[in-house]
Amino acid sequence: MLKLKKLSYSVTDTNANNETFRRNIISNFNFNFDGGRFYAITGPNGSGKTTLAKLIMGINPVTTGSIIFQDKEITSLSITERAKAGIAYSFQHPARFKGITFRELLSIAANTEDETKLLALIRRVGICSLSFLDKPVDSKLSGGEIKKIELATTIALNPKLAIYDEPDTGIDLWTIGPMVRLLKKEQKQHETTTLVISHNRAFLEAADIILLMNKGKLIYTGNLTGALPLLTDLSMCNYKECGEENVRCFR
């Protein structure tokens, strides 16, 4: 349902001698995502996961290559057009507003102001407290709260393709299990093609297919067992004890 063909993204950068050069952030990325499946994208910090998601959503412009969504070329479509086509992105660092409440964001996403529908929605995403609905989405929210709101607005859009960028950051440990189950349930009930960017083992285990990125390239696709040795090689702290002998983990 989503085909990435020879996708590259580069930016103009300057080196120590103040000379400009093109830096590749995503290089020649090829992959076909099948409809209704659950994908986990992982890889070290700075490997280009967020950049890839923003290329799909249209937030970053593609340098070369193309993006095909449901057999249509969307490479040059705007963010709004891609959203209307059914792509949704849950930001790693969600925007904070002044004067916009969770209720309003949810109403935009769900395209309704109907109280009963909004209440049904927040129940669907597992937010129990009704008072949460009238919280301003501003700088006073905690990191975990804003991530829950971000996830809820994405689900409320009923997207065909949902991309969640590190949905578990800032979320307390005992909420991660329910969050994984929620995204799996959405995937099953609504046949949502789901891409979760995460380092969390719970998401990697829940995924049908794992994509491992390093330095802007796709270096592995397959199941978790096959990914584990590579993940260890990339010094992913999540997967081994950090002893004193392994200082690389602290980068």
Binding site: I59, T80, A88, A95, K98, I100, I108, T153
Partner: protein, 307 residues
């Protein structure tokens, strides 16, 4: 008694569809149009006949007063001096506002000088909206002055809004707070075209444990200009905060100067100020939910100014 234009202006500035219930005083083109008092609320013309004195009896609860001003007479500059005396322990809402309809090339304007004397432990919510409309090329000017005196334990919440169409505005807000009193001022100003607005604020925290919070939200469109000056002066153990945000669109300009003066060692004063374009992450978030660029801008500005 109200014509269609009066109704339009009243709706914009006071949310009124018709003559309100309870106490009110409607002033049209520099003259009293209608007035109604209630058992607890008296309204009378002052001795100099330059405005009104609104007196709220002590312990009056859940009542409101509407005092809108509407202008649609070419060339008129209406100056009014109003005093509000709010009795101890009262809890009251006052809705003021000025609507200008300018149909000719002659200028029209209004200067409302409002003084509030809020008694011990009384609470007042004051809502003031300014709005101008009409096809005329005449300049629409507004120069509101608000002076607030809070007795011990009194609370005042002031919402001052200028929603558009005003060519030139100079606002002046002054407040003096006694012990344990609380003041919250929220000022929202939208300018466009070649309009200009200046807001000057001076809050004096003179009583122990007094608190003041001044919030300013400005949206500056077109070639318009807005300047904001706010000073909190602390003379006692107290708490004061200024928060001013300006969003610049197009070629607008802004000068924001918050100033804090502590003249007591236990004063706690803070400020936050920002000037900038609409944050791109906010725009992108709304567009990623299917809004167009323009729709996203409108939602952000609406939220920023209306709440």
């Amino acid at each position: 008694m109200l014509d269609a234009l009066d109704r339009e202006l009243l709706k914009a500035v006071a949310g009124l569809e018709d003559i309100p219930k309870g106490a009110y005083n409607i002033r049209k083109n520099g003259k009293l149009l209608v007035r109604e008092t209630s058992a607890n609320i008296n309204i009378e013309t002052n001795a100099e006949a330059t405005g009104i004195i609104v007196t709220i009896k002590p312990a009056t609860r859940n009542e409101s007063v509407h005092i809108p001003v509407i202008l649609s007479q070419a060339g008129l500059y209406d100056v009014v001096q109003n005093t509000f005396i709010i009795g101890e322990d009262a809890d009251i809402t006052i809705i003021a506002g000025c609507g200008i309809h300018c149909g000719t090339s002659r200028s029209e304007g209004h200067a409302g000088i409002h003084e509030f004397r809020v008694g011990k432990k009384a609470r007042v919510k004051y809502v003031e909206k300014h709005f101008a409309t009409g096809p005329g090329k005449g300049k629409r000017a507004l120069n509101p002055t608000t002076k607030i005196f809070l007795d011990e334990g009194a609370q005042a919440e002031m919402e001052l809004t200028q929603i558009g169409g005003i060519d030139k505005a100079t606002r002046l807000n002054e407040a003096k707070l006694d012990a344990r009193s609380l003041l919250l001022i929220t000022e929202r100003v939208l300018t466009d075209g070649n309009q200009s607005a200046v807001s000057k604020n001076l809050i004096t925290l003179s009583g122990t444990d007094s608190r003041a919070d001044m919030i300013s939200r400005s949206v500056i469109k077109g070639n318009s200009k807005q300047n904001f000056y706010a000073t909190i002066e602390a003379l006692a153990k107290c708490f004061g905060h200024i928060e001013c945000d300006a969003i610049i669109m197009d070629n607008g300009t802004n000068e924001t100067v918050p100033s804090l003066k502590a003249k007591h060692p236990d004063a706690e004063l803070t400020h936050e100020a920002s000037i900038g374009k609409i944050a791109s992450d906010q725009l992108i978030k709304l567009m990623s939910m299917g809004l167009t660029y323009d729709e996203a801008v409108n939602r952000i500005i609406q939220g920023f100014l209306m709440k």
